[in-house]
Symmetry: C2
Subunit: 320 residues, 2 copies
């Protein structure tokens, strides 16, 4: 598999690297690390993402290269951390149907195997781990920038080494990346410690609204709560992980009202409880312990609908 | 140093192991790991802590052994993660003045070197790392329980590998502990993910009250807020780390009103900003980025006093 990939890369000159919509640290860090490595191997690279990169990741060297370019002379496409063509976004959904060969490098177990070559390793902690292994195989020398890209992917996808996907091996890989010059402190300071006071005020309101419903905790970020906190809808991102720390909760759901009429839905669960079916049922996706989707509608319609489905999934998992 | 320690241990039969007051994961995990190791070496051990072990650590095997026993036939005392005799608590403050030899194993840079032997390594990430190194030297075989004790010390003292004290080496040590059977998931599920809904409601109130004052963020947990959330004073523990994630904050301070008339004060800071002088000024202690103390008085008297001192310390650090 990786040999076939190496042959494809050897034959290519210009590589189009695509990250997934609603980009996170793993897709951005992995794409940047891959581009930097391919350039060391003499290739030209274009970095694409249908959505803009979140502020928390703008510290990454090279991140300003991301845009929504059209595919032109590129002779190879690599999708990074993308589980399904839908996750390429409207701008790039068509890519898998083109004649240009497409490599699919990912670790999501929901991956739909849409590539010409599918390097999908579901046991990998992050896509950045797969990239790390490729670089070892290709004998690409790590530098501090490359190491920072990959460590960002690992740290963000494991929520700072706290998810059950954190393996002894990923700790070793991360140790090697630190030795190669990646600064864990820089990643934490930039990614986790630049919250606006308004964001934390919004979090306060969300926590105060938090409800416990049997094995489920959930809360909401309404447009009104956002405006009273002088915050934006995506300022509530991340709070779902805090809701999920409630002792009684097998799962946590966060509903976020957006100005475009869509309700963002983020779901988290305890190890061993697979909540991805809830997200998939409503057209989304993700991991067993972290998934999400968005629905058109208003809160009083969307919330009960999702809670009912969520209870079904939790009860199927643990019948009373 | 460690040879001298080994000779002392070889000559001893009964070891009295003391953790510090207001015990955290590192003092409890290190003390438990040390006791288990010394027992493997044929010694009897007594585990002592002047305060009771917090609920979040009660999952640790053997933790029920902690109590406030009197020193009787023990021929060696080992203080674990204790920076100063005051931190032994009233019950044990006198121990360093006894004839019984006292070993002081710690990593706090404020350590007052009160032992007969002082194994104080300020470059160590956690006291658990020092214990780990001793076990390697003593050729004590790791088992899953011992590994869990030590990994708990590391995970809690680094706030899940997020503090600047997280070194490449501690990631490797943690990887080895996981390979020896420690479950990172179990530690996270028990330590971080058993919050009461009431605790999270209190956190919501605390975040909503959060104030930004130049380079300082601070908030408060009053008895009234605690009672309206059906929560206890120590349910606010940990929230100071969240306050410290505010972008503008060089430091974060949390004031907690207690029923005994004392105000608990927790301080956190950015890497490079040493706030331990604030805590030390008011009779407390800690690390450059995490320190604390408690003061008698009421909030409207204590808060301005501490904020003024805090601003002095921040300004001395970064004069305008």
């Amino acid at each position: 598999m990786t040999r076939k990939l190496k042959r494809l890369i050897d034959r290519s000159r210009q590589v189009f690297i695509v990250a997934h919509v609603d980009p996170d640290g793993d897709t951005i860090g992995s794409a940047l690390g891959l581009a930097r490595s391919l350039r060391k191997m003499g290739k030209d690279c274009t970095l694409a993402c249908a959505d803009s990169v979140p502020d928390a990741l703008l510290f990454l060297p090279g991140v300003e290269e991301f845009g929504i370019p059209r595919l032109t002379d590129e002779d190879l496409i690599i999708a990074v951390d993308v589980s399904h063509p839908n996750r390429l976004g409207q701008a790039y959904r068509h890519l898998p149907s083109l004649d240009t060969p497409m490599v699919n490098i990912d670790h999501h177990f929901t991956n739909s195997m849409f590539g010409t070559i599918n390097l999908v390793r579901i046991e990998a902690t992050a896509t950045a781990e797969i990239i790390f292994d490729l670089l070892q195989e290709w004998e690409v020398l790590l530098d501090s920038v490359l190491a920072t890209h990959l460590l960002t992917g690992i740290v963000t996808d494991t929520q700072s080494f706290s998810t059950p996907s954190t393996t002894p091996r990923i700790l070793e890989v991360s140790s090697q990346l630190m030795k190669a010059g990646a600064s864990l402190t820089e990643i934490h300071e930039n990614y986790y410690k630049k919250r606006e006071v308004e964001t934390l005020h919004l979090w306060g309101r969300i926590l105060a609204e938090m409800q416990l419903d049997d094995q489920l905790v959930w809360s909401v970020s309404t447009l009104d709560m956002q405006s009273r906190s002088h915050a934006a809808p995506d300022d509530g991102d991340g709070i779902v992980n805090l809701l999920a720390t409630a002792r009684q909760a097998k799962a946590a759901i966060m509903f976020t009202e957006n100005e475009d009429g869509k309700i963002g839905i983020s779901i988290r669960s305890r190890p061993g409880v697979d909540i991805s079916p809830i997200a998939i049922h409503f057209g989304g996706g993700g991991h067993p312990q972290a998934a999400g989707t968005e629905l058109l509608g208003d809160l009083c319609e969307v919330i009960p609908k999702v809670l009912i489905k969520a209870k079904d999934v939790l009860n199927a998992h643990d019948p009373k």
